[in-house]
């Protein structure tokens, strides 16, 4: 059922959603690679306001190239940053 598989290229959506979200702004609009699927969890954006968080949403560990995230990044090429992102924040890229 999982829409994404390890190795898939994905882009993080910029949903402009107010309130409690767990997608840091520095990855929004950025492209990364799915490292692995972490399972399905109740949606924290709904739980945060007293909801039941259902339906459960897939959570993915996404690897980003540091040079893609930070302008002028001076670390070694190949450095990655991993962020866990819920599926409704992702689209295929």
């Amino acid at each position: 059922m999982s829409p994404f598989e390890p190795g898939d290229r994905v882009r993080v959506l910029d949903l402009g959603k107010p309130g409690h979200v767990r997608t840091p702004r520095y990855v929004r609009g950025k492209t990364g690679r799915v490292e692995r699927a972490l399972g399905e969890f109740r949606n924290p954006e709904d739980l945060a306001y007293g909801g039941d968080g259902l339906p459960r949403r897939g959570l993915y560990r996404v690897a980003f190239d540091q040079r893609e995230l930070w302008e002028g990044y001076e670390g070694p090429a190949g450095d990655s940053l991993y962020v866990d992102v819920y599926e409704h924040w992702l689209e295929g890229a």
Binding site: H20, R25, P44, L47, A48
Partner: protein, 99 residues
């Protein structure tokens, strides 16, 4: 729109790595917050949302944020009123003779 905890990539100085003794009120704050979670009164996500909603987030220490967020959630859920919390705090302050 962006919440104060979403700091990644902002200019910042070095991380303050000094340790400090955990104070009694900090232990209490931790215990009460976790107990309320375990009893199903609130969720971790509500706790995080309440912390991020604090207007003085940047001025507060870690457990000051926890205490303020827990107070706000208890009031929001109608379990305690501000007046009850303030009255109890004043009572404890008199009994303990400080703060």
């Amino acid at each position: 729109m962006e919440r104060p905890h979403d700091l990644g990539g902002e200019p910042a100085g070095p991380v303050d790595r000094r340790e400090h003794e955990v104070e009694d009120w900090e232990r209490l704050t931790d215990a009460i917050t976790i107990a309320l979670d375990r009893k199903g009164v609130k969720t971790t996500d509500e706790h995080r949302r309440a912390i991020e909603s604090l207007p003085d987030y940047r001025e507060l220490s870690y457990y000051e944020r926890w205490a303020a967020a827990t107070e706000n959630l208890l009031v929001e859920k109608g379990l305690l009123s501000r007046e009850e919390i303030d009255a109890r705090a004043a009572e404890l302050s008199r009994a303990w003779g400080e703060r």
